[in-house]
Symmetry: C2
């Protein structure tokens, strides 16, 4: 059987069954980060992400921006669990003919976010490779009371996004700001039931929350904030790499949030019954298949 048939998410389901974890693992495979017991008040978060030339970027892309993105996608995963990043390893695969300046600029991009979020780059690995590959693994910490998983969405929760969606591939996906500040504000001041960062697209990432929470949702086309970079609704719903936060919280909490902040936008609500309903401009409801970017 080829991987294309089983698919990325089918493969993740299989892998879940192949590995075992002990009681120190609060959450293993299947969320933005692994969550591990750490101290009386905190959990340790552990995550990694790779950017691969000709899949995630081109050799001609500005290496400073590639480095920025390589670390930002990991920071975004830690933000979405309510945590703060602290330590990172940088693993580089580099063709022999790479220039020293290329690597220096990659690191300038990595350092841009490392400095702003006080992340220690503590090591890594260098390999020869035919194509450039940057893998960053990251450790962060989250207060136990602040931890938010994908799986906690409850019936009647209001669904929010932290910013405009779609068209990120036209440049924003390199230069986005990981939503650490926004996520910290949310978990410090509100009861957030579930959260994820939008990397695969609104519909697909909402799909992750729904399947892990065993719930459904109704979302309203008109409510979804649309980036000026998006060419059409399909890009808003499914393009991915927006790296905005998608989160759900109880109705009363949502009202309180709306009074304080206008930059978080409600887009729909969680239902008891599974399935994802999109309500269009004419208020007609259609059940939609969850789609988005899959790696195979």
């Amino acid at each position: 059987m080829r991987l294309g048939i089983i698919g990325e998410f089918g493969l993740i389901e299989k892998i879940k069954h192949w590995v075992r974890t002990d009681g120190s693992v609060i959450k293993g495979i299947g969320d933005d980060c692994a969550v591990i017991k750490y101290s009386k008040d905190e959990y340790l978060l552990f995550t990694c992400d790779a950017l691969i030339q000709d899949v995630d970027f081109r050799k001609s892309d500005n290496p400073y921006l590639v480095g920025r993105k390589a670390i930002a996608v990991n920071i975004s995963d830690i933000a979405a669990k309510g945590g703060l990043p602290r330590y990172a390893l940088v693993s580089l695969g580099l063709p022999k003919k790479s220039s020293f300046d290329y690597v220096r600029r990659l690191y300038q991009g990595i350092n841009y976010w490392a400095k702003r979020f006080k992340i220690n780059i503590v090591g890594g690995d260098l390999s020869g490779a035919e194509k450039v590959m940057i893998e960053i693994s990251m450790i962060g910490f989250v207060k136990k009371k602040s931890l938010v998983l994908r799986s906690g969405a409850a019936e009647n929760d209001i669904i929010f996004v932290s910013g405009a969606l779609g068209g990120s591939i036209r440049g924003r996906h390199f230069a986005f700001t990981p939503r650490i500040q926004e996520a910290q504000y949310l978990v410090e001041n509100f009861k957030i039931n579930s959260m994820i960062d939008i990397s695969d697209g609104l519909l697909q990432d909402l799909g992750h929350i729904l399947s892990l929470s065993k719930k459904g949702a109704v979302i309203y086309e008109d409510l979804i904030p649309k980036s000026k970079d998006a060419h059409n609704l399909e890009e808003v719903l499914g393009m991915g790499e927006d790296f905005e936060l998608l989160f759900t919280l109880p109705f009363q909490e949502a009202r309180r949030l709306r009074e304080k902040r206008k930059d978080f936008k409600p887009v729909g609500y969680i239902t008891k019954n599974p399935g994802l309903i999109l309500v269009d401009k004419n208020l007609s409801r259609k059940e939609i298949d969850i789609k988005g970017f899959r790696h195979f």
Copy 2:
């Protein structure tokens, strides 16, 4: 400037200057693992290693063995600091046409060591890629009193290796046993001043200890245990991927170790003055250039 000119170790020196770490980092770039403050009695160890198709293995190699090696090289790094491995993330880059069975067998290899050493596989990342890439990042823990760095070698220390060297490329490099048990025995019972796992070759890895400890060494050709797989002395001294422990300890401790265990072999001693002297069968001394496998 091309990377080939500055070289792998030159690049690592540059990267050290590009990054900053805070007081919670006991040891950052430049050892087998990063060492981070953790609890009253323990440090956290953090490391990663990538295997890349057509650099570290071929697509035709048994994926079970590739998976075994991918996790074993990380375990070996943690062993060499005196620690025990606990958590791992597995990041895979896979061509679309990969078979499901290939990935299943990779994981069987990863699980082989994960089960034996009670390592929790807690997550990872899947990417499409033109070539197979396996990157594992690992967290372990070490008792503060057991931590051994590369930089602690002292004058008159005796230099030991944990097993026969050379020719590992003829098969052993896939199926080696990470020296967790041996390293635990050493740090629990002896004062070990410096340690490294031999991944780049005896001379080069001894060179890491010498340059970080600001010392020199004399080693004896006849004393070095030679693998039956090694075709010549050059392979014994410089082939790499043996993944045996190379460590140094004071003379009195060395004598005590020799009384208890015959499997650890003394190969020479540490000198105050820099430089590496190899004494051959005829007791003639020659100063040698440190060489080994470099990635560019």
